[in-house]
């Protein structure tokens, strides 16, 4: 039975009481304790730096050439914190409430509250490290607002918030590396976790440059290996983002929670052809001023697709601003899951506007006109001409969104100031992940999961700017306490020997798999299988799911997996830098995870957040939750085959928030 170990007591006092009651390890003993951190994104860097600073010996691993290149670097929009600098009524409780509601009531209250509670400290910490957040003319920190909330609590550094936060966390890491308290293993991939007598005692890693397979012992292991959106092949994640570390942990006994909860972001640049290798996000902030539409008539949509009709020539009354039509109260600012589904609905109905039929317009013409008129008033221009208004409005839009418009132009060669942008939803984030208790420990003692790799805080849908907050909260402020509590039992253990048969067995398995790949007499490149898997997942376990599709997907994935092992061709050797080999291992794991995601989606007979089951919707096509039967976390235990995984339910108890049906009408 899973025990979430949520401390007793009133919600607002749980964390403080817990911190005061957990055990500490004295400084001399910390020096004889080793901790491994896999991943150097926001969660991993901050955890490794903090634990090293406390005195533990830390080994940090990342597969990129430098810790600074972890995928956190790509986050654009910002990071939430309940500072209430804007005096707009924000508070710890409000951030907590918004996050639980945004997650469609499928997250654990106590964890979310703690997240909101430590959020303010994150900003203090980052500023002290020299993170150059945006400031106003008075020299104080500036905020912006994000989808799904009514306050301005998002701190940002232009469109590069993730970069600045990660460089901040990496600077703390660098400081500990220079002191010798952290040993960095870059271009290293974790291949397996090692469990000795029921406790996690280390990992098997592979040096990606020399190919050497290494054993690393430790008293505790933290996985901060990021999300698994790349199971869809096309996503906004970096090419190397993968599930392997988490999946290996799952196979060694860690439960995988809510694997099917995927966030599909509504504003991404659409797929342009079969060569596409990844998708690019256009910041959510664009929905503040842009209007989303498709042609009202099918023949217009077809003409646009064929390049015979320009969108600017479609008359106002022939346009369907479908979000404004369906959700008059929130309009273009409905939450991500709702906006994405509505785009899919229009495109499926034949109103898509690019060659593939999978794109909608994001139009700035009205914003340019509106801003232009205001600007003309401010400047006291009388009877400005339409072109003057446009020029003035364009300036305003350029100042606000210039870098995003440039990026769009760079990728598509279209000028978004002159013609509406084309956008389509894309896989962006995975709320699911390794199941962890309140201490962020998985079901395997001594094995922790942090950041996007765990499932802990976002329920069935994550609010914008909350992932960065969670990563840093886990690493700076939660793990340093909770890991210590566990390690208090280990002060007399001494160094972990890597001669144990468990290490030997794990290493042997890793080496055999590598040899299998290299010796396989196949003829098909790894990417071929990955693309096919992505297609299956996107069509059946994407924005809308149904029982028949999911069952078919499970069968298709199993067949594809079998074919993969027979037909994959991996060139090169095991003793040299070999990216194809690295990829093969990752795709092999995705091929198992994908199946579990479908199993999970099939079992959850309701619609909630990013999980939309077509069988469970209202007459108007809105998501229909089933609180009576599904207010629980689905935690899956590995039993040898993804389809045979055993479901354990962690019931979610809401003591402080009343469950309501979300409505944005």
């Amino acid at each position: 039975m899973l025990n979430s170990k949520v401390p007793q007591g009133p919600l607002a006092e749980k964390w403080t009481n817990h911190k005061n009651s957990i055990r500490l390890v004295n400084p001399a003993n910390k020096r004889s304790i080793d901790v491994i951190v896999v991943g150097t994104g926001l969660a991993g860097s901050s955890a490794a730096a903090s634990l090293a600073e406390m005195g533990y010996n830390v080994k940090a691993f990342c597969f990129q050439d430098s810790p600074r290149r972890a995928h956190s670097i790509a986050a654009q929009g910002g990071i939430n914190a309940a500072k209430n600098y804007q005096n707009d009524g924000d508070s710890t409780y409000r951030l907590f409430y918004d996050t639980v509601k945004g997650g469609d009531y499928r997250s654990r209250e106590a964890n979310v509250y703690r997240l909101a509670e430590v959020s303010a400290n994150i900003i203090d910490q980052c500023v002290a490290q020299g993170v150059p957040f945006a400031r106003d003319y008075g020299g104080l920190l500036d905020n912006r607002s994000f989808g799904g909330v009514q306050v301005s609590r998002t701190f940002y550094a232009k469109g590069q918030t993730g970069q600045q936060l990660l460089l901040g966390a990496c600077s703390a890491l660098s400081r500990q590396i220079s002191k010798g308290k952290v040993k960095l293993y870059n271009r290293h991939e974790m291949m397996d976790v090692v469990v000795v007598d029921g406790k996690c005692r280390g990992i098997i890693a592979r040096n990606l440059v020399t190919g050497e397979v290494e054993r690393h012992g430790a008293h505790a292991v933290i996985l901060a290996s990021g999300g698994y959106g790349n199971v869809f092949f096309l996503s906004t994640n970096a090419m190397g983002s993968n599930v392997s570390a988490a999946w290996k942990a799952h196979k060694k006994g860690a439960h995988f929670a809510n694997p099917s909860f995927t966030q599909i972001h509504p504003t991404c640049i659409p797929v342009s052809g079969s060569h596409q290798s990844k998708l690019t996000l256009m910041s959510e902030s664009l929905r503040n001023d842009g209007r989303i539409w498709v042609p009202r008539k099918k023949e217009d949509a077809q003409a646009v697709r064929e390049g015979k009709l320009r969108p600017v020539d479609i008359r106002e009354e022939d346009r369907d601003y479908y979000l404004e039509r369906r959700y008059p109260a929130f309009g273009n600012l409905v939450p991500r899951d709702v906006a994405s589904r509505a785009a899919k609905e229009r495109c499926d109905a034949g109103f898509g506007v690019n060659e593939t039929g999978e794109a909608v317009f994001l139009d700035y013409a009205s914003a340019i006109e509106r801003y232009g008129k205001t600007e003309a008033n401010i400047r006291g221009l009388e009877n400005p001409s339409a072109s003057e208004i446009k020029a003035l409005g364009t300036e305003v839009v350029k100042a606000k969104y210039g870098n995003l418009f440039d990026m769009y132009k760079q990728i598509t060669a279209d000028n978004p100031y002159e013609t509406p942008m084309k956008i389509y939803p894309a896989v962006h984030y995975t709320m699911g992940g390794l199941w962890v208790d309140y201490n962020l420990m998985t079901a395997v003692p001594g094995l922790y999961a942090a950041g996007e790799a765990n499932f802990s805080d976002h329920g069935a849908n994550r609010l914008g700017a909350s992932a960065l907050m969670q990563g840093l909260a886990d690493g700076y402020f939660v793990l340093p306490y909770t890991v210590g509590d566990y390690l208090a039992d280990d002060i007399r253990t001494g160094p972990i020997s890597t001669d144990h048969p468990a290490f030997e067995a794990a290493e042997k398995e890793v080496t055999e798999r590598i040899q299998h790949f290299l010796n396989n007499p196949g003829d098909t490149p790894v990417d071929d299988f990955h693309r096919k898997l992505g297609r299956i997942m996107w069509n059946n376990c994407g924005m809308a799911r149904n029982a028949d599709g999911l069952k078919q997907a499970i069968a298709d994935i199993r067949a594809l997996r079998e074919e993969f092992w027979k037909k994959v061709r991996v060139p090169g050797t095991a003793t040299q830098y070999n990216p194809e080999l690295d990829k093969a291992g990752r795709v092999a794991d995705f091929l198992e995870l994908g199946e579990l995601m479908c199993v999970d989606a099939l079992a959850r007979e309701e619609s909630c957040g990013g999980h939309f089951r077509e069988e469970h919707q209202t007459a108007e096509g809105e998501a229909l939750r089933n609180d009576a039967d599904f207010t629980f976390v689905s935690a899956w235990e590995y039993t040898g085959d993804p389809s045979e995984a055993k479901l354990e339910k962690e019931e979610l108890v809401y003591e402080n928030i009343e469950l309501k049906q979300r409505s944005y009408k």
Binding site: S66, D124, G139
Partner: protein, 249 residues
């Protein structure tokens, strides 16, 4: 379009390396440069040959991983873009494209187009941080107002992605632009003041130790830098270094 690629192949750090020629066909102008490389590698794998190793990850110009020297230019033609942001519409049918790794003593080749840039990380480890503990028990973030102009300039310096194009493009393989970007970011902020002099001394020392060349103010780095990191950062670092050295004596 159809193209001829001349690509640097090097089978490990000890290998001498050579240029090899690969024709590619049916390349769409919508592809990114790296997607074109994917097409070539797919073909090489199918033909039972060794695919070309190259570094990449985010493919949107922010992680700093991609690093190709294309037709004699770091990150290829076009200003303000990384290799991964380069599109095939920048080329035309029949073009011959030369693709090489970053070349610098401090960046040894690992394989083909992949080089080892950990020297950059060691320079940062030498002092590119503020020595503050991560307990969160610092002062409130708004206690020290920072003039917007300073904050913006610090931010601009901090947008360096650590790609190494500046080193690759410099005839002396100098890392001054990269190092000065970090030195400047922290020199412009109040939080960076206590360690300002120590920091610049340590980082410059480490930079020299890693075998980067001297700066002769050619300015090629600024031209090729995908993030527009400005030469004024180098001037600022030189001033700080001078101050620090004078005081040190």
């Amino acid at each position: 379009m159809n193209l001829t690629l001349k690509v640097w192949r090097q089978n490990g750090p000890e290998d001498k390396g050579r240029m090899e020629t690969y024709p590619v066909s049916d390349i769409s102008e919508h592809m990114s440069f790296l997607e074109m490389m994917d097409v070539l590698n797919d073909q090489l794998v199918r033909d039972g040959k060794d695919p070309i190793a190259f570094d990449h990850d985010c493919r949107e110009g922010i992680c700093g991983m991609c690093s190709m020297f294309i037709n004699g230019e770091a990150h290829g033609p076009g200003r303000g873009v990384t290799t991964c942001q380069l599109h095939m519409r920048s080329f035309k049918d029949g073009d011959t494209i030369y693709i090489e790794p970053w070349r610098a003593q401090a960046f040894p080749v690992i394989k083909d187009l992949v080089v080892d840039r950990s020297a950059f990380d060691r320079v940062i480890q030498a002092g590119g941080y503020v020595s503050v503990n991560t307990s969160g028990n610092t002062i409130d973030a708004n206690t020290i107002p920072i003039p917007k102009a300073d904050a913006d300039e610090a931010f601009n310096a901090a947008t360096c992605i650590g790609c190494g194009a500046c080193v690759a493009t410099c005839k002396n393989a100098s890392a001054m632009l990269f190092v000065s970007a970090k030195v400047s970011q922290l020199a412009l902020l109040p939080q960076g003041q206590p360690e300002r002099e120590l920091r610049v001394k340590r980082m410059v020392e480490q930079m020299d130790k890693e075998g980067f060349g001297n700066c002769t103010n050619t300015g090629a780095c600024e031209v090729e830098c995908p993030k527009g990191i400005s030469l004024t950062n180098i001037a600022r670092m030189n001033r700080d270094y001078l101050t620090a050295s004078l005081k040190g004596e």
